[in-house]
């Protein structure tokens, strides 16, 4: 069977890579394209088979560095458990300094062996990589892929179009299919028989153009600015008091987002007026908008309509905000949010994939 290249993106969550491997197994022999040798590589090779299948020794390592699997790149053992037969690693400094351009070069180089498909997670970096690779190879490119099956003449991809209102089945008729997969829609399953991935080091010489885009800063400090925030947690009348608004701030901190308030909260003085999201305050376009105790008046909806994903918690099941939300939770903010904070804390401590 032909190889299927799976891109372990720069600093990507392991879950995304495992989801891509789940799909790749249907199309051929999965091979992971990693920036650097995956951590735990030597351990997986030296260890007993029990270690490879996620046993004691590996588990102990995960417990010491809990975010390794939950947030960081996956270990070779984890990739093997999801069916990776080969891991292509490159150690050039460009892979870290210019992650997008260097990965394009690497994928184009590996595509010389005519893989059955190239799977990339459809995040911001992934889309740029996939687009550039498709042009270089003059190959068909499909985005918004939520499912893949093997067809008689290459993979058939299911795309989710118009916010999931349509399911479109497409296939690629020219070149190596390049698929940008929305990994959050893929249910991940480990391979029936865990593999021991062979790590192959790829030596690459990069052209000068790889260095055209430089990363000059990377900061983890939370921005104050609502308008450019990716995650916004907003509180409204249902929060009840200035003390209750502390819950909004804590949840925003837990999700690495920015707190905001509806006009009701701002007028009561629970939050400063600069934090007000509505028609006359800030108009926001975050990837995630979490509304706590906000019923969703027209003027508020006008301010947050551009959000990618909307999650609302409110005690009134008839609240208009639920018509706009991707997931609504009916309940008292003061009871649900502390539980949610505890649940997030618990999940951060336990890496999901390693424990399964």
């Amino acid at each position: 069977m032909a190889e299927v290249l799976v891109l372990a993106g720069p600093g990507r969550a392991a879950r995304a890579t495992c989801a891509l491997l789940t799909l790749a197994r249907r199309l051929g022999t999965p091979a992971v394209v990693a920036g650097a040798p995956a951590n735990g590589t030597t351990r997986a090779r030296a260890g007993t088979p029990a270690t490879v299948t996620g046993g004691g020794k590996n588990g102990a390592t995960q417990a010491r560095t809990p975010r390794t699997v939950a947030g960081g790149p996956a270990s070779a053992a984890t990739l093997g458990r999801f069916g990776a037969k080969t891991i292509y690693a490159a150690t050039a400094p460009e892979m870290d300094e210019h992650p997008v351009a260097a990965r394009v070069e690497m994928l184009v180089r590996l595509a010389r062996h005519r893989p059955a498909a190239i799977l990339v997670a459809a995040d911001r970096d992934g889309l740029e990589i996939a687009g550039r690779v498709a042009v270089r190879l003059d190959s068909g490119f499909l985005s918004d892929v939520v499912d893949v099956t093997a067809g008689p003449d290459g993979p058939v991809a299911v795309q989710s179009v118009q916010g999931g209102a349509w399911r479109v089945e497409s296939s690629v008729v020219r070149g190596v299919p390049v698929l940008a997969v929305r990994t959050e829609h893929v249910a991940i399953t480990p391979a029936p028989a865990p593999a021991r991935p062979v790590v192959t080091t790829v030596r690459l010489t990069f052209p000068r153009s790889v260095r055209a885009v430089r990363q000059v800063a990377r900061h983890r400090a939370r921005p104050r600015d609502l308008s450019t925030a990716a995650v916004i947690v907003a509180g409204g009348r249902g929060v009840g008091s200035a003390e209750g608004f502390e819950l909004v701030r804590r949840l925003a901190a837990a999700l690495d987002g920015v707190p905001a308030g509806s006009h009701a909260a701002a007028e009561q003085g629970w939050c400063p007026p600069q934090m007000q999201v509505d028609q006359v305050g800030q108009v926001v376009h975050p990837s995630l908008y979490l509304a706590l105790g906000i019923s969703g008046s027209l003027r508020h909806r006008a301010g947050m309509r551009g959000a990618g994903t909307v999650v609302a918690i409110d005690s009134d099941p008839q609240a208009p905000i639920f018509r706009l939300s991707d997931l609504g939770a009916v309940g008292d903010v003061h009871q649900v949010v502390p539980e949610l904070l505890a649940e997030i804390e618990r999940r951060r401590a336990l890496p999901l994939i390693a424990e399964e």
Partner: protein
């Protein structure tokens, strides 16, 4: 400084999408308008024009005759000229073919910066800016949440969620795609509507760009659509009810699924 803004006409309703018998999206059924992110792209190009005198902004679109409305909006917002790429053979182009046509038009116009919206409301064509950059052989700064154009360099700020905030720098000529977060666009002044009437809209065909019709459209696309089925019932069980703990677990599951945890 020559700025080319790539814009797109999209259906302005939320649920107006439908497919023709050849499985291409019907784009001129309902009310249409300029894509929201492209609106920001035009506005950002004007921010550059505020700081320098030599800026020439050209809006470019590819699409059926109705797509000229998007160009007129861009001219009202402040673009200086517009180019409409229109050809029967373009019908059904995929991302690869679209990027080929747009790159040819941009090359013909000449450019220092190519600006475009990072996402379009009607289809997931978010990779097209990167594809155009690849064809032009220039760097791309995609998904700019904040854009700063300096004399010899362009700086973008990006917030990818999960605390991943980065700043990238590159030197023109280059392609930039901006998100709707890069600033609320200014509302055009009334007189700019009158000015826009006198601004030129050039219509180019494939022969103008020197592209073989067999390379674009349904014939030249590298992808084929096999079937399109509407998902009935909308969103099932989008409301979580019950005791706070189970609701919280459901919420955490959802957030983890969408990779916000």
């Amino acid at each position: 400084m020559r700025i080319v803004v790539l814009v797109k006409q999209v259906p302005s309703t939320d649920d107006g999408l439908s497919f023709a018998p050849d499985l291409t999206v019907i784009r001129d059924a309902g009310p249409c308008g300029l894509n929201a992110a492209d609106w920001c792209a035009v506005d950002q190009s004007l921010q550059v024009a505020v700081r320098r005198r030599d800026v020439q902004i050209t809006a470019v679109t590819m699409g059926p005759p109705g797509a000229a409305d998007a160009l007129r909006t861009a001219l009202v917002l402040g673009a200086d000229a517009a180019v409409h790429i229109r050809d029967e053979a373009l019908h059904g182009s995929d991302a690869l073919a679209t990027s080929r046509v747009l790159a040819a038009a941009v090359r013909r116009l000449g450019f220092d910066l190519v600006l475009c919206g990072a996402t379009s409301a009607d289809s997931g064509m978010s990779a097209v800016p990167a594809m155009v950059a690849e064809r032009l052989g220039v760097p791309a700064l995609c998904f700019a949440d904040r854009l700063l154009v300096r004399e010899r360099k362009v700086e973008i700020h990006r917030d990818d969620g999960c605390g991943d905030r980065r700043v990238f720098v590159a030197a023109p000529p280059m392609v930039i795609s901006v998100t709707e977060r890069c600033g609320e666009p200014h509302y055009p002044r009334y007189v700019s509507r009158f000015d826009a009437r006198d601004k030129p809209i050039a219509v180019w065909g494939l022969d103008t760009l020197g592209i073989d019709p067999a390379e674009v459209g349904l014939a030249g696309s590298a992808c084929v659509v096999r079937a399109a089925t509407p998902r009935s019932g909308g969103r099932p069980d989008a409301l979580a009810m019950g005791d706070p703990t189970s609701v919280a677990i459901r919420l955490a599951d959802f957030l983890a699924e969408r990779q916000f945890l």
